[in-house]
């Protein structure tokens, strides 16, 4: 069990469903390279209290609140030396307890090489009808499910032990610099058996039977010049989001552009072509509006030459489309106008569900920002945090 039982100023609360009341409060769950922080706002979103660090020194890839009970938090953790684990809190971070059985691959039963989880990267609460269910994505790529609120985790063999998937996953050398990842685990709000996930690298995949079988969903997605787009391994989706107001619409920020997919169609449309040429359509995060499926945001980065992974020209900005990708508008009011060489990782940008939603982003330089009025005006919430890996927002009553 982890020693830190950090007292939290976060009130006992329950997560709101649908459009939250204007009087409700927000909590930002910030995962960083050196620990986790919770930032709690009053109803105006102007004043923030800081709760943390939790797990100082641990690499925290993701912290997520269970929207079904409004109080259970999961945190995906590891340290430089120790193996990966998951911590759980049932009181909004006042105390934490380690998962009894964190995500771990099964021992091989075939000729496939054995694998070990390096870190849990992505956490997704299960369907609203499946109390205590969670999904986790790991590095190297693995998909896991918990049915007891994150205390014990079981691998999904149709992904983790499939020879075909293992070929698509490639080796550590094929993945991102800090390890290949399974991410963007999406659950259709209309059907708990209808799932999507993405892999960097290894494409986008869909299941209609709760993960027992999968089909690839890569048609229309581009790959790095000179490679064969028919080869699943070469596909590198960075972040895929499902629109809550229209679960048949997906948006994707990919290594090779921004895309939209309208089901039951199976061909991604590259909507990033309409981004300004000097900015391009490379980046990590993808954010969708809570109620308008035509509105989505990205945060471009420099993906030229050696891939600096910084804001293009040192001028960070979000871009929004309000017509499903036909046009894009720059949103940079309040953000540094020059010489800002940070960017935003794939889990580090999100939006709340208020009547006038605000965006939130955490930077690789440890800054936390709020974008009022759907990103029209940005203000800094915190500086000098460690490198931010993930930002989630949840409503508190």
């Amino acid at each position: 069990m982890h020693p830190s039982a950090t007292r939290s100023p976060v009130p006992k609360a329950a997560a709101a469903r649908g459009t939250p009341a204007a009087s409700s409060r927000l909590v930002l769950l910030v995962a960083t390279r050196k620990g986790a922080w919770l930032f709690c706002a009053d109803h105006t979103r102007r004043t923030w209290t800081t709760d943390g660090p939790h797990f100082l020194g641990h690499t925290i890839s993701h912290v997520h609140l269970d929207p079904r009970d409004g109080s259970t938090l999961l945190a995906a953790a590891r340290t430089g030396h120790l193996g990966p684990t998951v911590f759980r809190s049932t009181n909004l971070g006042r105390t934490w307890k380690e998962a009894r059985q964190p995500p771990a691959f099964a021992k091989p039963t075939s000729a496939l090489p054995p694998r070990s989880v390096e870190h849990t990267f992505w956490l997704t609460p299960g369907h609203a009808s499946e109390c205590d269910s969670w999904y986790a994505g790991t590095s190297p790529q693995g998909l896991f499910r918990s049915e007891d609120g994150g205390n014990t985790w079981a691998p999904l063999p149709a992904v983790n032990d499939s020879a075909e998937f293992r070929e698509w996953m490639g080796s550590a050398q094929d993945g991102t610099p800090d390890g290949p990842k399974l991410h963007s685990i999406l659950i259709d709000p209309r059907d708990p058996k209808h799932l999507y996930f993405a892999m960097s690298g290894g494409g986008v995949h869909e299941s209609h039977d709760a993960g027992r079988s999968w089909a690839t969903l890569i048609k229309g997605m581009e790959v790095v010049e000179g490679m064969d787009a028919a080869t699943v391994t070469f596909h590198d989706p960075h972040c895929v989001r499902l629109c809550p107001s229209n679960p048949d619409r997906l948006y994707q920020q990919n290594h090779c552009g921004i895309y939209r997919l309208d089901r039951p169609g199976d061909t991604w449309q590259r909507i990033g072509r309409k981004m300004p040429k000097r900015v391009g359509d490379i980046g990590f995060p993808m954010v969708v509006h809570p109620r308008d499926a035509d509105t989505a945001w990205v945060f471009p980065m420099d993906g030229t030459s050696v891939w600096p992974r910084t804001s293009p020209d040192g001028r960070p900005a979000a871009y929004v489309t309000r017509n499903a990708g036909k046009t894009w508008q720059r949103l940079d009011q309040g953000l540094p106008a020059s010489q800002a060489w940070w960017t935003v990782k794939r889990q580090a940008m999100t939006v709340d569900a208020r009547p006038a939603p605000a965006l939130y982003l955490g930077t690789t330089s440890g800054e936390l920002w709020i974008g009022y009025e759907e990103g029209a005006r940005w203000m800094n919430i915190a500086r000098h945090l460690p490198e931010i890996y993930a930002v989630e927002v949840a409503e508190l009553r």
Binding site: M1, H2, P3, T79, G80, H81, L82, G83, T85, E98, R100, P102, A104, F105, A106, K107, P114, R115, S116, V117
Partner: protein, 85 residues
């Protein structure tokens, strides 16, 4: 036998030195897991391999083979590798 626990794992044991038993290193780690749930997985992965940045010394000799035989009175030191500066 006596086992030295590194600082990063004392949240599990609440002590720098603990007692454990086992005829092999693998058995000793299982005994540690029984006494301190969760400890073993931070040291050994799901394929029963010592994690890359963990070192185990038995009477001062570095050992990576979990099948290594232990004798009563051996001193086992679990150490974080001096990696990363």
């Amino acid at each position: 036998m006596q086992v030295l626990i590194p600082g990063a794992l004392r949240s599990y044991t609440k002590a720098s030195h603990v007692e454990a038993v086992g005829e092999t290193l693998a058995a000793l780690l299982l005994d540690l897991e029984r006494r301190y749930p969760g400890l073993r997985f931070r040291i050994v992965d799901e394929q029963d391999r010592l994690r890359p940045n963990m070192r185990i010394f038995i009477n001062g000799l570095g050992i990576r083979d979990l099948g290594h035989a232990l004798r009563p009175g051996d001193f086992v030191a679990i150490v974080l590798a001096l990696s990363g500066g």
